[in-house]
Every structure is written in structure tokens, then in C-alpha cells.
């Protein structure tokens, strides 16, 4: 029995016959009809020093999250950042670019509500108590 190169060869018992259409090309997998048109920012460029990238974030009051190994390198108080001690976040560390759970979150003071949110409510972040 001869067959075209790379085509599948199916050997069946004599009492069986393939159903119609068994050798048709498979359908392409369904693609989602609509996709969100958003793109994640790549973060720190390869070759860029992590500290320089963090300095850029600080200069623009960006929210920063750092893993446990990078966290101690960031002096958040002198940078006027609030360290949210009572909540950990998941994400790609702004320092080492590794995706880590249990990262530490830093919010710029200009985005901070007061504790309890009664005075400067409606902003971006209210410190978590205890």
C-alpha cells in the first residue's frame, strides 16, 4: 500500500470501515472573536540598573511593588512613599522583574487617604489598619 509522504496511514480490520469525512483536514482552533486592546508595559529595560528605574518611578509618583529580596534596598520614607505593611500584592517585582507573590506595596504620599478615610476620602489608598 502506498501513501503520500507525511500523510497518516490507518489500518483497520476488514469488518470496519472509516466514517465519511474521516480524512478531512481538522478545523483551525476557534479564536476569540474579540480581544482586549491593551498592552502591558515591559517595565525596566534589560541593561538598565534597577535603581535607576525605581528612581524614575519615584520621580513620577508611580506605585511600586518589590519582592522580599528587593524591598530592603528601597528607602521609602526618604522617597515620600507609604509602605502598606498590612497587605501583600502579587506582581512582577519592579526591582528584579521576577513575578512574585507576597510582594511589598509602596504608595506615593500624594495618593494617600488618611487612616480611616474620613478626611481625604475618595483618593486612591487608605492605609490598612492592623
Amino acid at each position: 500500500m502506498s501513501s503520500a509522504p507525511n500523510s497518516p496511514t490507518l489500518i483497520l480490520p476488514k469488518r470496519l470501515s472509516p466514517s465519511s469525512g474521516w480524512d478531512e483536514k481538522p478545523q483551525a482552533p476557534a479564536r476569540p472573536a474579540k480581544r482586549p486592546k491593551v498592552a502591558e508595559h515591559p517595565g525596566r529595560d534589560f541593561g538598565e540598573v534597577a535603581g535607576s528605574y525605581i528612581d524614575g518611578l519615584v520621580a513620577r509618583a508611580k506605585t511600586i511593588w518589590l519582592c522580599w529580596s528587593c524591598r530592603h534596598k528601597f528607602d521609602h520614607a526618604s522617597a515620600h512613599y507609604f509602605y502598606e505593611k498590612n497587605l501583600r500584592v502579587t506582581g512582577r517585582c519592579d526591582g528584579c522583574r521576577e513575578h512574585r507573590p507576597d510582594s511589598h506595596l509602596f504608595i506615593h504620599e500624594s495618593l494617600l487617604c488618611d487612616s480611616g478615610g474620613k478626611i481625604r476620602h475618595g483618593l486612591v489608598w487608605t492605609p490598612r489598619n492592623g
Binding site: P36, E48, G56, L57, L105, L111
Partner: protein, 242 residues
């Protein structure tokens, strides 16, 4: 708005997303994918009445991206990348806290429904209420309780204690877990217009719970609705923009 919690109890998941060239985003605003058919690959603000394909809630501000390349350090770009970016909490089950506001202008104090509340021993009649709105006691014996109007001035379930004359009540158009009564956001998308008429056509957020404070806690300036996106891009049930 601000992140309050995730229904599943998980930690907030953070990502930095490129901002569309169409407009800047401010901190504390839900952002969604761009529906522009011709260009754009960044997030944009939701609108006051629609939030379809929500990506998450911003936790910092960002300028609009520039289409052309820029010099390193220019504009909002931290690394010479011409794409501005905003930090976003992307959890589909994230609950956002939105302040209740008297109208579309941010930080406008709510108002007591009526300064001439009549006594109601049955605890059912609120002078001057709006049908289908949520009402809560601002002063008096019923402080701490909320109900829903079932017709102007009448609540569906009586307040637990008798209403005395001159007791104060406040109302909001938001209703917890109501699938046909969607909130309308304020002009800058950071708060909720608690006076907006019931709008079944809005497609944006579902109210999870209320934080309705009383007179002793300045409830006119300090009450919130906790909401979650009804259409989230990262939820398998979300409706995505084209």
C-alpha cells in the same frame, strides 16, 4: 475609588499597563480596554455610564502616551519609552470603594431627604423618598439600618424602630446586588452620582455592599458604595471590546 478587597480573599494582582494616546488616566479610576477599531493598544478611562471590558483600577496617574518616540526622561516616561503607563489592580473579583456623591461633581455633600420628616410609628414612611432608591437613617433610633423604597416614601421592609418626627434620612440610587439598577459615575469617574435616576441601560458595576454612615460620622460626606465590575476583561464571563 480605591481597592477595598477581593471577594475570593486573594491578594491584589498588580500590573503596569500602557495608557492609550487618546487621554490621560487619573489615579483611582477604573480603566478598560480601548474599543477604538483603528488604533490604540492602551487602557482608557471608563465612562460615567459604561464600563465594558474593565481591566482594573488604577493606583497612580499617567499622561496619555505619545505616538512618536520621545527623549529619555521626557514626559511621563521613566525610561525613554514613549508609552506612558499606569499601575492597575487587575483582579476580576476586586471590590472598589466609591464615595457617594450628590450629583456629578466630585465631593459634593449628600443631602437629607426632608427636614420635615413626619412621625411613622410603623417605621415605613419616609417623607420625600424616591422609588427604588436605598434609604438609610442619618439620625434617630434607626441609625445603622438601610432599606429600599418600594414606591415614593414607602420602604419595602419597615425600619426596626418607630420613626420620630424630624428624624433624618438620606437616600442613594445604588442598590446592593441589583442586576438592573446600575450606578452612574461622577464626572471624573472616581465617585458615584447617588442622585442619578435609575438607569437600567448602564452596563458597568454591581454594588456589593454599602458603607452608609450617620450624622455622628459625617455620613453626608463619608458614605460609600462598594462595587465590582460587571464586565471584566480577565473574567471568562467578561464582554471584551473589539
Amino acid at each position: 475609588m480605591e481597592f477595598k478587597y477581593c471577594i475570593g480573599g486573594s491578594a491584589p494582582h498588580m500590573k503596569k499597563f500602557i495608557v492609550d494616546a487618546a487621554a490621560a488616566v487619573v489615579a483611582g479610576v477604573p480603566v478598560q480596554s480601548n474599543a477604538d477599531a483603528s488604533d490604540g493598544d492602551g487602557v482608557i478611562n471608563v465612562t460615567t455610564t459604561a464600563a465594558v471590558g474593565v481591566v482594573g483600577l488604577t493606583v497612580d496617574a499617567a499622561d496619555a502616551s505619545t505616538n512618536a518616540q520621545v527623549a529619555a526622561g521626557a514626559g511621563d516616561q521613566s525610561d525613554g519609552n514613549n508609552a506612558s503607563f499606569a499601575s492597575v489592580i487587575i483582579n476580576p473579583d476586586a471590590v472598589y470603594s466609591a464615595k457617594l456623591n450628590n450629583g456629578g461633581t466630585e465631593d459634593t455633600a449628600l443631602a437629607v431627604i426632608s427636614a420635615a420628616q413626619a412621625a411613622s410609628s410603623a417605621g415605613t414612611t419616609i417623607t420625600g423618598g424616591t422609588d427604588e432608591f436605598t434609604v438609610w437613617a442619618y439620625s434617630g433610633a434607626n441609625v445603622g439600618h438601610e432599606r429600599r423604597f418600594t414606591g415614593a416614601a414607602l420602604v419595602a421592609v419597615a425600619f426596626p424602630k418607630a420613626i420620630a418626627a424630624l428624624d433624618e434620612f438620606v437616600e442613594t440610587s445604588t442598590v446592593v446586588a441589583e442586576m438592573t439598577q446600575w450606578p452612574t459615575l461622577s464626572t471624573a469617574f472616581t465617585q458615584i452620582d447617588a442622585t442619578a435616576a435609575v438607569a437600567a441601560s448602564n452596563d458597568n458595576f454591581i454594588v456589593v455592599e454599602h458603607l452608609l454612615r450617620d450624622k455622628a460620622d459625617d455620613g453626608l460626606n463619608n458614605s460609600f458604595a462598594l462595587i465590582m465590575a460587571a464586565s471584566h476583561a480577565f473574567n471568562q464571563n467578561g464582554t471584551l471590546n473589539s
